[in-house]
């Protein structure tokens, strides 16, 4: 085991531009393998999303990375330092909420943070007020946690990260239970964190939110990484669409057959005409071209909506039962997990 770990550690590049590096990580609970040979590389200063269906191993990956559970084999580094041996020192630079945030219910949100700040040291207690305000809990900080809603607990979880003034912010399902204002606040916070050249790891089922906050993603399924790479790469490889609403669908379809950027056009009773674009065609420019062609042919257009390839479609495709990852574009050498 030790020799294997040694080998696994040496398989890590230890490159300084990486915030997190995981190589060949395997975690078993009894006979059940939850993570199987997982390798992930997260560059510094990016927003990195971790996606996967329920039970895919996302939270276990984060818990293992943070030394909250022991791992079976593999190697990990955070900021080039081996984990878990260097975690006590590394935690000075890490703020993390893994799974649902847990707090003592009989004391206030502020008092919970005071306890965490006392454990943390490093002047964390001076950042409590800022953290509470930033997480949108300023008005409720002196209320007992027992009276907090799920969203308020999530905000307190975020505040507990902020008292660390972290270089690496790890948020696991932190959007759950937040109201729209809370979601917007957290979105802004995540964007600002990444904009200040710090690293964000964001684990969520809300794929739109991951798309907004992150530049890169890893998709886990059944304990394995089935995709890892930039979200832009997914957009580049997926199929873009243009949806059209007009007064004469039959005539529009005949016009669309001769539009160069369209490979297929079909009529749907609920969504109107759906035009599938050629690979590499920009949906906005294509929409302009299609609109011009339709108007030129005398078709009155009342709706034209370009749609970029969505992470959600990609995610569902990759993680659907029986999905062959070899046939998916993710299996290309550029985007497959390392």
């Amino acid at each position: 085991m030790e020799s294997f770990e040694g080998a696994a550690q040496s398989s890590l590049s230890g490159e300084s531009h990486l915030a997190v590096e995981v190589a060949g990580l395997t975690k078993r609970f009894g006979r059940r393998t939850v993570l199987s040979d997982v390798s992930v590389a997260i560059p510094r200063g990016v927003g990195f999303g971790i996606l996967g269906p329920n039970g895919a191993g996302k939270t276990t990956l984060l818990r293992t990375l943070l030394g909250l559970v022991r791992y079976s084999s593999g190697a990990m580094r955070i900021f080039g330092q081996p984990v878990p041996s260097e975690l006590p020192a590394l935690f000075r630079r890490i703020g993390a909420v893994v799974d649902e945030p847990g707090f003592l219910p009989h004391i206030t949100g502020r008092q919970n943070l005071e306890m965490l700040a006392a454990a943390r040291g490093d002047g964390a207690s001076k950042r409590i007020d800022y953290a509470l305000e930033r997480a949108g809990l300023g008005a409720n900080s002196d209320q007992k946690v027992a009276h907090y809603s799920t969203g308020m607990r999530q905000r307190l979880g975020v505040a507990s990260c902020l008292i660390a003034d972290p270089d690496l912010l790890i948020l696991d399902e932190s959007m759950n239970g937040l109201d729209p204002a809370g979601m917007q606040n957290l979105r802004t916070l995540m964007r600002e964190h990444v904009a200040s050249s710090r690293t964000l790891i964001f684990c969520s089922h809300l794929l739109d939110e991951v798309e907004r906050a992150c530049e890169m993603v890893a998709i886990l399924d059944k304990g394995k990484v089935v995709f890892q790479g930039p979200i832009a790469q997914i957009r580049g490889q997926g199929t873009a669409l243009v949806k059209i609403g007009c007064d004469d669908e039959r005539r529009a379809l005949s016009v669309l057959a001769s539009v160069p950027c369209a490979t297929e056009a079909r009529f749907d009773h609920h969504e109107g005409i759906i035009v599938v674009l050629r690979a590499g065609c920009d949906p906005v420019h294509s929409a302009v071209e299609i609109n011009r062609s339709l108007l030129g042919a005398g078709v009155a257009v009342h709706l034209i909506a370009p749609e970029r390839p969505r992470l959600e479609d990609w995610f569902i495709e990759l993680t659907r039962p029986g999905a062959s990852t070899d046939s998916s574009p993710a299996s290309s050498p550029e985007v497959r997990g390392r």
């Binding site: 943070l66 006590p88 965490l116 454990a119």
Partner: protein, 285 residues
């Protein structure tokens, strides 16, 4: 000064915040005060009322009453210490706060050890004033000398001496500290409060069985090393009027040298606390 992350000794700030957190556990604090000071006050009031109505009943002072108060406090204090230990030992785990604490980077051992003095401080904050009330009554509400007839010992009607007060207080506190520490360790070991109280109660019952076995089978006297109640009972100071208060207990013989008692006590504290610490360090958060 920032404590090093790997330091296993908890610093003052950590212990202080833990104590403040426990102090804000309102139902716990109310139960502790009610279960100790409240019950003692009820007893004192009842005795005083009975004495007022029937002058034959001795007032709530003197050595014999003092002994009764101490043993009442022992009974209520053990229950209090048990529940406090169970809560302090695993409330972080049940609320998942332990995970948040671990991600601060502080040593898990330091987090575990910080709970011990914090809970003890709360226990002392309830027990010491209660004991002061008991002592105050025992010293001020003295019976007249005519009650010596009933007690058969002149010391029973006199105010307990300072040595008796200090020794009895120390012995009471020691008993409660041991119960608290063992229950805390069990709680940290099993990770849940209710099973910890159940196991600690079973331990007390098992000790009672052991005591009985030791007395019916002289050859099994080696069992005294595992009977913590027996060990602590052997450390008791001389209580005034104990013949009238705890007659059955005075019939028991005890032949354990002081160093054996001390050693057994240390083992009884170190082993469970060590196991609790080991579990805290190795458990999944």
């Amino acid at each position: 000064m920032i404590p090093p992350r790997t330091a296993w000794v908890p610093d003052w700030a950590l212990i202080r915040t833990r104590f403040l957190e426990l102090r804000r556990h309102r139902p716990l604090v109310i139960a502790m005060i009610g279960g100790n000071l409240g019950i003692l006050l009820i007893m004192i009031t009842a005795i005083s009322v009975m004495h007022a109505v029937h002058p034959d009943v001795a007032p709530a002072g003197g050595g014999s009453r003092f002994t009764s108060f101490v043993f009442l406090m022992l009974a209520t204090g053990v229950i209090t210490a048990m529940f406090l230990g169970a809560i302090v030992g695993s409330e972080d785990l049940s609320s998942k706060f332990f995970r948040a604490l671990v991600t601060t980077g502080r040593s898990r051992l330091a987090l575990y050890l910080a709970r011990l003095p914090a809970g003890l401080a709360l226990l002392a904050a309830v027990i010491i004033p209660t004991y002061a009330v008991a002592v105050g009554c025992a010293v001020t509400l003295l019976p007249s000398r005519s009650f010596e007839y009933y007690y058969a010992f002149s010391s029973s009607t006199k105010a307990p001496g300072i040595h008796v007060i200090l020794a009895a207080g120390g012995w009471l506190l020691l008993q409660l500290i041991v119960v608290y520490a063992i229950t805390l360790a069990i709680s940290a070991l099993v990770g849940s409060e209710a099973p910890a109280v159940m196991i600690a109660t079973l331990l007390v019952l098992a000790d009672l069985v052991l005591t009985t076995v030791m007395h019916s089978h002289v050859l099994w006297s080696w069992l005294r090393f595992v009977d913590i109640e027996w060990i602590l009972w052997g450390m008791r100071p001389h209580f005034p009027g104990i013949a009238t208060c705890c007659g059955t207990l005075t019939g028991l013989s005890f032949s354990m040298p002081g160093w054996e008692q001390l050693l057994a006590l240390v083992v009884w504290l170190v082993v469970p606390l060590g196991l609790g610490a080991y579990r805290s360090i190795t458990r999944d958060a």
